[in-house]
Symmetry: C3
Subunit: 423 residues, 3 copies
């Protein structure tokens, strides 16, 4: 998928009213499923999952606040952000003063509509811009929330690219936000593109698992249902905010120096980027990295969680994310998978002195030249560090050479009989 195709997918998914449950998530997964076969799991309301319980399912058809003339001054049909997520049904007429505690605005960003939810406390409310609120007369106003909050299910979806190994690389995206583009339709679009690219490259070594789930409760539910399989997870990433114009940002796993941490920071080394230490806040790395699981999950974003003014507002629309940014995120992720796929530990079979590379056609035969060719340098580094203690990623990190070059050197040395893979 090109950046333009990813952007088109963001635009197509944008109008759907998603939440942590309900038909918006299902419709989103249907559209994703047009590109990737998904295994969808419906987990019934009331199921106990770790410390939590799967909540009632929420669906909504319409909602508005109408003024005396019948004009919708706040209209769900114009933007699903206008209703507080999980609002219970209501129908009635209220003066403005009575409505005020249920009206959420952003006084410091008066033109923008905030995003608000109330999953676990039954209530209702509306979100609107401060500018609109300031223009409202005293009322009365006719109010409708045509929603249902009933027993139903929570919807999870997975796409797997099977590999040679049972060891898994897991990429997790949250799909619970309504009309917010960077958070997280861009992440969904990049994940879809990455899955396609991996599959197109032939059978990978690792198995790749893509998770599309509601944030927090979705991750908790998936973890509860898959406890026996978690030991297979070799590397994991949560992917979010993948399309804004800021530089890539990596948040380390709780472990701090897991292979995924070293792989991502190696790939980001040559790009504008930031690296943050783990914190138990942000996206679903919070759940994957909870101390009982302590899985090797990092978080990849461009501008991180809550780090841009448009975050969780109507400003996070498809115009905020760019095809170029999504392509850059995709490319970095692709490079990370190349490192994970290629990283191996070799043993130098001729470790006493340097082996004579020239005799094997591995080395320029005309000595004395002062230009040190990078490929030869990569061979020397691989030979020197292949003592069973260092993987190719270690070699790339310590030498400062690109991983691909180090891998290429290792394969040439292996083919010449100078290396063997370390058990």
């Amino acid at each position: 998928m090109t950046g333009e195709e990813m952007h088109a997918l963001v635009e197509r998914l944008y109008p759907i009213c998603r939440s942590i449950t309900g038909d918006g998530v299902r419709r989103t997964l249907e559209i994703v499923g047009e590109r990737l076969p998904l295994t969808v799991t419906e987990v019934p309301t009331g199921t106990e999952v770790l410390d939590w319980t799967v909540p009632k399912e929420w669906n909504i058809r319409d909602a508005y606040i109408k003024d005396a003339t019948g004009r919708r001054v706040v209209d769900f049909r114009a933007s699903n952000l206008h209703v507080v997520g999980y609002s219970v049904p209501v129908s009635g007429t209220y003066p403005l003063e009575e409505l005020r505690p249920r009206l959420h605005t952003l006084p410091e960003q008066p033109a923008l509509v905030p995003y608000r939810t109330s999953y676990y406390a039954e209530t209702w409310g509306f979100c609107l811009s401060q500018d609109v609120l300031d223009g409202l007369a005293d009322g009365p106003y006719e109010v409708l929330v045509d929603s249902t909050l009933e027993d139903g299910a929570l919807t999870l979806a997975e796409h797997v690219v099977p590999g040679e190994l049972a060891d898994e690389v897991v990429i997790s995206c949250h799909v619970c936000h309504p009309s917010l583009a960077n958070d997280n339709l861009a992440g969904v679009a990049v994940a879809v593109a990455l899955a396609g690219r991996i599959a197109a490259a032939g059978r990978p070594r690792h198995t790749y698992r893509f998770l599309f789930m509601p944030g927090t409760i979705g991750a908790i539910t998936w973890l509860a249902l898959n406890r026996d399989r978690l030991r297979r997870i070799a590397h994991g990433l949560t992917l979010a905010c993948a399309g804004d114009p800021g530089p890539l940002t990596y948040k380390r796993s709780r472990r701090g120096d897991a292979p995924i941490d070293r792989a991502v920071t190696h790939v980001l080394r040559d790009r504008p980027h930031r690296v943050l230490d783990f914190s138990p806040y942000g996206y679903d790395e919070r759940q994957f990295c909870s101390p009982g699981f302590d899985l090797p999950f990092g978080g990849l974003t461009r501008t991180p969680y809550a780090g841009y003014p448009e975050y969780h507002t109507s400003g996070d629309d498809p115009g905020f994310v760019t095809p170029d940014a999504m392509e850059d995120t995709l490319d970095a992720l692709w490079q990370v998978t190349r490192v994970l796929e290629g990283d191996r530990t070799y043993l130098n079979l001729s470790p006493y002195g340097e082996p004579q590379l020239g005799r094997r056609g591995l080395y320029g035969s005309l000595g004395g030249r002062s230009d040190t060719r990078q490929g030869q340098l990569a061979m020397l580094w691989v030979l020197n560090l292949s003592d069973g203690e260092h993987s190719l990623l270690d070699v790339a990190t310590r030498s400062g050479l690109p991983f691909a070059l180090v891998e290429e050197a290792a394969l040439a040395l292996r083919d010449a009989g100078l290396l063997k893979e370390h058990a």
Copy 2:
């Protein structure tokens, strides 16, 4: 005690002629004892203590150099700094030239009188300003040192605030300097205030032991007499130079990363401060951190040992120390004790995923807001790191949150049944 009260104590103690033995130390301890009950130990001259021997006791009544007119040109009554500490008795008449080798001045600070002692080589001498020396005629001069150097005792004092645990926090102040305010009457005054504040706060967890002893030989004597009890010392600090206007300075223990090191550096993090690595010079941390004992003692000062021009001169008078500086030192020490008292290691009893804080009333129920509340963040950090490997101080250090907030979060989580103290 307020800063003003601490300053008044410094002023009251200032005129007394202290040394490593003698009635000046006893009088000082009497005055301290008006505020804190002290256990005083007199250790006889000749007692062998570690590699040392308790010296003879020195007392002095008067000393002067009189010119031909009978005027005291150098007068012990004006300042006890004028006599080299431990000067043996002398009475005689000398020309200036003969006196010169016994006259100590500071040519580069010509208006100040230096502080000099000769504890272990029997001699006598006077200290005076270079300005006064320059004005002296050739003499002859009448010289008197009316001192005694005889078998007696070395005086140590302790004040203990008993706690729930036998584990001790030890604060040690030297009391052997005559009229020098910052070094170390300010330290004595702050220690007195701290002891009172701890006692007033109710029974502490740790036992707090305050030591008022002569430098070097006092610490060596106390260590020799208490070898069987040293294993109880969990944390220790030497306290000196506690009242000058410079920023707080912490000198790490020999271990470098003892809990006391982490507690003090955490408290200082949000104040102007300096942290120095251990060196075997300075105050009695030299003895506590000698390799045979290697106790976890750091050193707290404002401007450190020998770091200010007034150090060991008549410029270190009560005008050099300020009530504000002593209050700031006291407050930092108090915060350190709060960390030592509150630091515990907990186990998260719900370590798989995050527990649902909202259900327990521990979390705001209206999600989606971008302001991350510090208290919630503290709860998430405590839950994430409470795996038995991290104490609350580790949580505060890694999260960058204040210790008090982290402790408060932990107590709320414990009360909600989500944490238990780790054995």
Copy 3:
């Protein structure tokens, strides 16, 4: 040897045509042998050494390119750099176009002649300046290389200064470069001077072994012949580029924190210098630090390998190296040997509190002065860290004091019965 004497040795060795084998190396070793008795080993062509085979021996008498008038436009007699090292014999007449692929120049340094070799692929060629090449007419040219490439031997030489211990310090210099002064006649001259200085100072503690060998194949051959003795090597250095005006540069051993690394970086601490991490490129540390051997060899140069424009060109002539620079390299190496000789681990026999230094005449008896004398400080550091875990070099490193002062303090403490050497 003074800097001038070292420089004279460089000038005397400069005209000789050295290579990895042949009479040029033998003549060089004869001249070195005038100052140092050398043990010379001739290893026959065809001997298998590690992964390599000793090559045929190469000797050359003359070589030129003559124009139609009989003038030598490229002349081996003017500079031995003009012939590609190991060129096979040739005699014939060629137009310029046919010669061009065999003519090596430096287009970006048009006045300089490059240094090129082809040890393991039989070929021939000439090196010349771009300026000369640009002035050549179309030809034809008469070409002669009067060389032999035949079974013979590879020549290694060693000089040993026997010490009290079998433990060895090895200094290795390559002697395979023809007329290049900094790389490596300066290294040879400094090594000769160092060996003389060590011997003149009396029997050392370590045994010192100086190796004069061709690069790469020489080191590989020496390692192959001495595998049983390698365990004796306690510390090693390759020495090259020892005479240019740049600052000293130390390249760490593969281990990174071997005692030699700490000794050299300590000595360099107070001089302009650079420290580089290990890389498997450069001089024969590549062989000594190959993973099978992993010997504690660092590399000492001034401007490092390939780091100066004159590197491997005719610009690296005796005018490029200076007596002062060689003296500075010699002095630093000498200081390194002083650290290696003096470094010991002691046990403080009075580890509880400070021992009373004054009683033993080790300490100024007049206390209270604010000037901390370095020697006393050194004694306190030695006492504090002499717990069996820290050597004197550790003490010097941690205290920031010069090694010589720390050693002097330790000897005084030992003589006073306060330290004993740790087994």
